[in-house]
Subunit: 436 residues, 2 copies
């Protein structure tokens, strides 16, 4: 079962495309992953016109190989996702320098590797992005493709990182946004949207009703659609995290990549990135994916475990960014996990909170719950001997803990509280095992 067919299929009319912007020499076409139908890779394409399946951008790896190398790449000054332009579906004329997306920190943490009983561990902190999540990579791409399509307005329905990243990246590019949120959306996240000047429509209804109204509005006004479930370019933005990881590893891939999974778009994007590099001869082996979901919401991992089609699940986890009971990128995600000979692990909320503490105390990285879930899953996979003790692993942190202070407080524990007297401090230290 997939939910793709239930969604209306919209196309930005071709006539909205600006002339003279066809020149993507590295891109061949956009192919339907379900029926194989080939489409011209126009900036406004969404899902397959024939069957409604997701499209996948196809590259000319001969062209890419002829135009880029390790040496060329490492000589570049550009410290953003656009550093990898040969691998990206944008025209040479497109201006991609709005917010500084990508180029996020990469830390080797030997003491955490030792603690987990694996050979090497690297943390990729993608919470360090302009709007504090990996989703900036997709939204930056959406903004460029919208401009290529000649659109001046982008829309989506979301309450989370997709929405805030779209609002921020569009503001920097001077594009208008319409963002539909269910009324229950947290005020803090809505304020982030409003600060970026998004037109926010708060809908008194469920997420499904909100999504449907947004779809109708996008259709009516011809806005550019930033929806990872139907826009094939967003995954191409997300894949840049994989390209960066490979370069930060000096093109020597680790055995595994651990990442949290919600609607499936991110893990599919990560896999696409590594496959692109492999096809272009930039890395000599592919890593295995460690797909981490929450125990209370793991439809994709369950499908892998049972070998059956995925089924919708309830959304019982505090990690809101991966609480996706009906994943909209199931096809691509399941394909990626299987093709990589991946490992699946489900983690409890307690394990997620513990991973937040581990990342904070162990390497000074403050992750939101969904951002720490990948590390929680890696730890569990090591404990369960799902990966060997000589494994080398990159764990991707997908969003900043400042996005969700309430859950950080759950994870963090309580301080010592005393009167302003040295005697009380000594007494408190004595009880808690502090200094004498």
């Amino acid at each position: 079962m997939t939910s793709l067919m239930r969604e209306p299929v919209f196309w930005i009319p071709y006539k909205r495309r600006e002339e003279g912007m066809r020149d993507m020499k590295n891109v061949i076409s956009a192919v339907c992953i379900r029926c194989g139908e080939e489409h011209e890779a126009l900036p406004g394409i969404t899902t397959c016109r024939k069957c409604g399946g997701m499209l996948d951008i196809q590259y000319d790896y001969h062209y890419i190989k002829a135009n880029v190398s390790h040496a060329i790449m490492s000589g570049r000054g550009e410290g953003t996702m656009w550093r990898y332009r040969e691998f990206l579906p944008v025209t040479p004329e497109s201006s991609c320098r709005k917010l500084r997306v990508g180029g996020s920190p990469f830390y080797e943490v030997p003491h955490l590797a030792e603690q987990m009983g694996i050979a090497k561990l690297y943390i990729k902190d993608d919470g360090i992005n302009p709007t504090a999540s990996l989703k900036d990579r997709a939204s930056a791409m959406a903004v460029v493709k919208a401009q290529e399509a000649g659109a001046d307005t982008i829309a989506c329905s979301s309450t989370g990182n997709a929405a805030s990243s779209l609002a921020g990246n569009a503001a920097a590019a001077g594009l208008k946004t319409y963002i539909f949120v269910p009324e229950r959306a947290p005020k803090g996240k809505v304020s982030q949207l409003m600060i970026f000047g998004a037109n926010v429509i708060s809908v008194k209804g469920s997420y499904e009703e909100t999504f449907r109204l947004s779809a109708e509005a996008i259709d009516r006004w011809g806005w550019y659609n930033r929806n990872a479930a139907i826009n094939p370019y967003l995954m191409e933005g997300k894949k840049t995290v994989a390209l960066e990881i490979a370069e930060q590893l000096r093109w020597k891939m680790t055995d595994y990549i651990a990442i949290s999974v919600g609607d499936g778009c991110t893990i599919a994007g990560v896999w696409k990135g590594f496959k692109d590099l492999y096809a272009a001869g930039m890395i000599d082996r592919l890593p295995r994916l460690i797909s981490v979901q929450a125990e209370g919401c793991c439809p994709l991992n369950r499908a892998i475990e049972t070998g059956k089609a995925w089924e919708a699940m309830a959304e019982n986890t505090l990690a809101d960014s991966i609480a996706v009971g009906v994943p909209r990128n199931a096809d691509k995600a399941l394909h990626a996990i299987r093709e990589s000979n991946g490992v699946v692990v489900n983690v409890s909320d307690e394990e997620i909170l513990a991973a937040m503490r581990l990342l904070g105390t162990g390497c000074g990285v403050f992750a939101e719950p969904a951002g720490a879930a990948g590390t929680a899953g890696l730890k569990k996979a090591a404990e369960l001997k799902l990966i060997p003790t000589d494994a080398t692993v990159v764990s991707v942190v997908t969003g900043s803990g400042l996005k969700d202070v309430a859950n950080a407080m759950k994870a963090a524990g309580e301080p010592l509280t005393i009167e302003p007297e040295m005697n009380q401090l000594l007494e408190a230290f004595r009880k808690s095992g502090g200094p004498r």
Copy 2:
């Protein structure tokens, strides 16, 4: 009047210094800015042993000139504050690669410049740092100097960005922290400290009582003291934002630098950075400082305006990070503003909130109130004709808006709220001037 004399003066005993780490060829000494007494630049120094005045690190600019140039600098891969090592008081042996501090984005925003009626405007977004504020630069320096001093524990008393940056940077370096906060500290900020594994002592008392207890504890246990008011190295960390700005401008300085001012350490650090570059021949002119304080708390700007000594003020502003009624770095800050022939501007809370919207909608930058205050002051300075219409300006954003979501909500306004019906959307758009 200054408050420096009221503070106890602590020295980490010299014997705590590790042997073989004296080799700072670029540093001459640490000189008291009040009495001129010269001190050896040991890693544990604090204030002047003779008079209690602040110390200032003195460099050998001949040595620096002989060892660095524009070309050498631009060839470096290191995208952090440690890129400027010739200008920094650290030994060659010191490992400075913990969190990736510095290398923050720099945006030219011509449309905002036009809107403000100035020639050029650049935004330096220092909210994009590991713990989301400029203070990471000072804390990263504190961590390195603590390690040079042989200390395994750092302490401070603060409720804000200094505390969270210390906790995060120390965690990444494997150092222990003791952080004293008054009980009224916001739970969210305390949770950030706890996530990073700081030992947080919540004191049932005023900030003054909290500070005093922390001083007593630091003295008792010999912890390394991360307090910008007495540790001369912190300003040297902060100055790296100026070095970066100069390089991002390709060494062609703007006429002005606008920045918000609280205890004075940051603006003094920025000035020190530009003066270092000028002394080393890396820039050919110095910018003028635009010192921005809140109308409800502007002791330093008032001293400049009146030409008298500064006097303590109440702390009436929502911009908590610059709500400093008794600035602890007054001497250096006032000297910097005067020496640069600076401009002072005080802004209301409403003007700060408006600047948050301007940065968000105009360039996709989400600033905390104190972080947006510099931009608010620049806008006001342009309106009041305190700066000319052909001025070129860099405005520094000192912290991320995700640190203070409550005030973002105040700034941001309310979304449209409707039932999930196209008719209601059309009606709401009709009333609000949306699309038809």
